[in-house]
Amino acid sequence: MSKIRWDKVSLIRSSANLTKEVLKAVSLTVNKGEVYTILGPSGSGKSTLLRLINRLIEPSSGEIYLDNINIREIPVIELRRRIGLVFQQPVLFPGSVQENINYSAKIQGKNFAQAAEYLTMVGLDSELLTMEVSKLSGGQQQRVALARALANKPEVLLLDEPTSALDIQATEQLEALIVNLVKTLGLTVLWVTHNIDQAKRVGDRTMLLVDGRVIEDRVTPDFFNFPREEIAVEFLAGKLKTRGN
């Protein structure tokens, strides 16, 4: 069942002396409960693709659907609460762990103390609740960012290279945590990564995005074992250079 669908979505970015087509008529479907990994060289438009779903940015043309409803017809605040986003760097607000996790509740004027529950969910000790986030390690900060996103009880989780700023051990731990949580909570996940091995491990389906175009979009084993497109073959062989405009 389609959870998220892009229908010929394009994005053109203009600055003073340059116009760039960041996304070119992208059409995709992500099914409910799927972990959908997105691979591609830097500048291919992967992060942009995520930011379009929760309307942090607006496409130049095309439509996006959540549960077959055009996202423009859903009030934007409500849309964003149904979709969690974790950035590459842990982007936490100044203050304590608790204040970060309870941020969504606070802005809705609700007063429930469930930070401890989400902290446990991401494998951190509730002792850390009152700690200033700046004192945490990178791995801990990213877990807090994840807990903060989950506190909205979203249906969809957008992960923009969530482990790329972490060391190997923290990466493995966070990856395992996310995979486990996703299954437990029944989330639909879009996972942008530049790590081919990570995509192999976590993805139900994998897509290759190059220069704003979908090159290959297959179930993960087929993507890696039987790529159809030459660009995909080159990419997997590590031979693909980023083609600029």
Binding site: N54, R55, Y103, I107, N152
Partner: protein, 249 residues
């Protein structure tokens, strides 16, 4: 002061020109330009004020204050680094702040609405509000650029643009107000402020002059606070779309 005495005081300007030449600072041209502009502008203002005070028409008084607000707005909006709508935000804020303060003082009978009170007082509060507004705009633009990801993180959690901008707005408004608040702490210690100096030079009793200066300090505190808050609340919206998206500027 006689005109010939004022001419003789040009020797003071000569001193700064000589220092610049001797030290090879290259400022001689700027000093001369600055001196000429200051003299012409102040003389022109003197004639205008004399006329306005003589005519004593409330419409002319308001027109003068309006011109001052527009010029102040032009000056302050330059600090906004190309932010759209900065000028409109600043003149609304400075106009609003000045209007509230002057109205309160007229209603309370602290001053009367005549040109020789309202224009000098208006000038002071508009000038200080201009500086405050400029600082708010400059700081807001810089903070939004620097904290872009944090603001996006807040928006992504379902914050409105007002909620997401809360931190940067507070920092900007605070930055605008701090100079005025700080200067109140050193009033009378570090320097004798302008209003007091003018009154004493004109022969007023220092204790009377001091009362007026205290009044000015309170007025500035109120007006600058109002201006900074209004300009902040108007300006931050320019950075967001109607769908609570942070725009590329």
């Amino acid at each position: 002061m006689s005109f010939s005495a004022l001419l003789l005081s040009l020797t003071l300007v000569l001193i700064s020109i000589v220092i610049s030449a001797y030290q090879k600072l290259g400022l001689e041209k700027d000093i001369i330009t600055g001196t000429v502009r200051a003299v012409i502008q102040l003389l022109a203002m003197g004639f205008v004020l004399k006329f306005v005070f003589h005519v004593s028409d409330w419409r002319l008084t308001i027109a003068m204050l309006t011109v001052m607000i527009l010029v102040a707005g032009q000056n302050a909006s330059k600090r906004a680094q190309g932010m759209p709508g900065a000028f409109a935000a600043v003149i609304t804020a400075i106009g609003g702040g000045s209007l509230v303060t002057i109205t309160i003082m007229v209603i309370l009978g602290i001053i009367t609405f005549n040109p020789w009170q309202v224009i000098p007082i208006g000038g002071m509060i508009i000038g200080n509000s201009m500086v405050g507004a400029g600082v708010v705009l400059n700081r807001l633009t810089a903070e939004i650029k620097q904290k872009r990801l944090e603001i996006e993180a807040a928006l992504a959690l379902g914050a409105t643009s007002r909620q997401a901008a809360d931190g940067v707005l507070r920092a900007a408004v605070k930055a605008g107000m701090i100079p005025t608040v700080d200067s109140m702490k050193t009033l009378g210690i570090v320097q004798l402020p302008g209003m007091m100096t003018g009154l004493i030079l004109a022969g007023a009793d220092p204790l009377q002059a001091v009362r007026y200066q205290i009044l000015v300090a309170f007025m500035l505190s109120a007006t600058v606070s109002i201006t900074c808050v209004i300009v902040g609340l108007l300006a931050y919206r320019r950075f967001f779309s109607e769908y609570h998206q942070l725009l590329d500027l």
